[in-house]
Symmetry: C2
Subunit: 442 residues, 2 copies
Amino acid sequence: MAMAELSAPKTTSTFLNSSSRLRLSSKLHLSNHFRHLLLPPLHTAPNSKISCSVSQNSQAPVAVQENGLVKTKKECYGVFCLTYDLKAEEQTKSWKKLINIAVSGAAGMISNHLLFKLASGAVFGPDQPIALKLLGSERSIQALEGVAMELEDSLFPLLREVDIGTDPYEIFQDVEWAILIGAKPRGPGMERADLLDINGQIFAEQGKALNKVASPDVKVLVVGNPCNTNALICLKNAPNIPAKNFHALTRLDENRAKCQLALKAGVFYDKVSNMTIWGNHSTTQVPDFLNAKINGVPVKEVITDHKWLEEGFTESVQKRGGLLIQKWGRSSAASTAVSIVDAIKSLVTPTPEGDWFSTGVYTDGNPYGIEEGLVFSMPCRSKGDGDYELVKDVEIDDYLRNRIAKSEAELLAEKRCVAHLTGEGIAYCDLGPVDTMLPGEV
Amino acid sequence: MAMAELSAPKTTSTFLNSSSRLRLSSKLHLSNHFRHLLLPPLHTAPNSKISCSVSQNSQAPVAVQENGLVKTKKECYGVFCLTYDLKAEEQTKSWKKLINIAVSGAAGMISNHLLFKLASGAVFGPDQPIALKLLGSERSIQALEGVAMELEDSLFPLLREVDIGTDPYEIFQDVEWAILIGAKPRGPGMERADLLDINGQIFAEQGKALNKVASPDVKVLVVGNPCNTNALICLKNAPNIPAKNFHALTRLDENRAKCQLALKAGVFYDKVSNMTIWGNHSTTQVPDFLNAKINGVPVKEVITDHKWLEEGFTESVQKRGGLLIQKWGRSSAASTAVSIVDAIKSLVTPTPEGDWFSTGVYTDGNPYGIEEGLVFSMPCRSKGDGDYELVKDVEIDDYLRNRIAKSEAELLAEKRCVAHLTGEGIAYCDLGPVDTMLPGEV
């Protein structure tokens, strides 16, 4: 920071809406009308949001009155509660307008990597100030405070606001991006149908909340698994948001697939392009070696071991997560966060000429004959405006068509199993005997 | 990646020194001659380093022969074993020469944040290719493999090589930067003198290794605690490396101090400058509110609660780590990694006009009358060439002088306690009854 650029000291601080922001609120937003099948209603604790403000020389606990209840506000992430006129300062007046980014599962390990990347400017660029809206569970609220403290201590100039809370109707207010990571892991003995229902309810609720309070053009990236069907549930509960704005993360699969092809070919991974992951983020996913290229040449011309391509390659991609847990003792939070960054950057920067990226998107109007009304990973390109278009001229041979059909069938079965959450009637679960969850992933 | 820029596919891959790199080595480097005091000799397992290579269409386990022993190499981080001519390609020919960066404690949580920042280009810039040399313990070697796998899956274009191993004499070969994070945490009932000795032995060994195999101008940043005295031990064991090249990390303290002043003043943290941490990274550290500025004005003119400055401020900085553990359940790995990035960037980018940063450096020739032969945090500036100069005209009043003297006395006591590790005779430990370790830090 150049000293010459520093303005005179402010003698007083300005707070916008300080009275409305300095509070502990306790509101109830339930979406019970789909909660009638398979499981008893979940216990729904009153959601709460902590927001805060400081005034000069005042760090004492603040008593807050709301709904006739007095609570003591013990901690305040004051720095992020201040409001600023970025246009008034030399260093920040050329910055873009602040954007609001919501992250759910914000106290988890993936978020612990992602949030610091978002705050540093590594995702949206060095002239894009951001506000982080952190959604957690009741159980994680203390950990969320810890995350906010570490964000404070990191002094990121672009990070101007941090809110933490457990109510999506508050946290999603006016957000332009929502990265939905939080989901329950499958417990011992839990059937896949149960997992679909439990997590589906979370994403139904969050879809409703986004529909009601988010920016009308919010972009939503679902990471919590099963992410394709969670994304579908989310978009079906948010009819006012374009379905095209919802994504399911298959970028880690794409990145792993590129790396495995590079390893096999003995080239560096930056030589692999045009990598598509088709279908579901599950073991039915189809990493497409037919259309991928190495140094601009079709993979099958570079890697002559076609038996490996057809039989070993997909498995090498899918087993990566499980292998990593074996080695490292925990799941791949760091590389998942990197792939989330990649997925967002692919939407906010123009796709390089001739290349594409994979993302799970709504199938309506797709040129590949994939059943409409699903969230399916396909090759996409972007002009860098947050939107994308499907790549339309990708070759599909019989091998690929057959594999894609299996993933499509799986997603259709998942869809029938969550019909009660998408407003499409009574759920019917027949997911088959085979467990199609990726090893080592929750 | 623009397709037009892709070159024709290679039909064969080139490997430099593939025979020397494709191996599991097992060498013994001991530094026993200082291990004669206070503790029985540590059990020293044979150190090992795993390095690897791949050839086209060959992913099967590789049998490696060395020292008459045949081992089976089960995993290969092949992508990082390939060698490249960066000058031959359009996209990379303008890049700087590759630098080697060693990180110890590489399987730990701080490293798990730091490594991905280094690899992404966030520290050394978008045109600086890097090689990461990951040092771990025998116990962590599997976890290190997991880290290398996640780095592979992240497809960072700038990350060209990853080596993992447990022998500093191999991992530190030709490194231009060494970030020394690994240290043992204090176990229950362990005296501070024991901790100094145990960790001191690690840093003595690593100093010797750096002295022997690192780049002669290697920059060393010690993070593992007690970091000032560890840095002193390290530099005393590396007489061929300029003592000026060794740093102890006090940047997290500086960042926290800036945040606490901002909170108190009700301003955003980017308004706080000229923040010095004096002395030891311990509870005797001195966050300097006399010379720090808010919006270019001395802090004492902006914050009129001088009682808080003298009594509450330092504690608010020091208790941050412990408070965070309370909230978040683990130590502040993410913000520590951010502060390491800040510390490195302060040395490789020019310091803004009129400002400075804090880092623990060797005291020889300091203008503040601090005893020579210590590693002491002081205000510094850099031209961005990796080197620094002390800021010489900082005002020290009686309050500050008194506080600085206490931290100096503590460091002198620590130094006497590790005399057996610095080649200065027989250790004498009298660290006093007060525990001066920062709460919540290992």
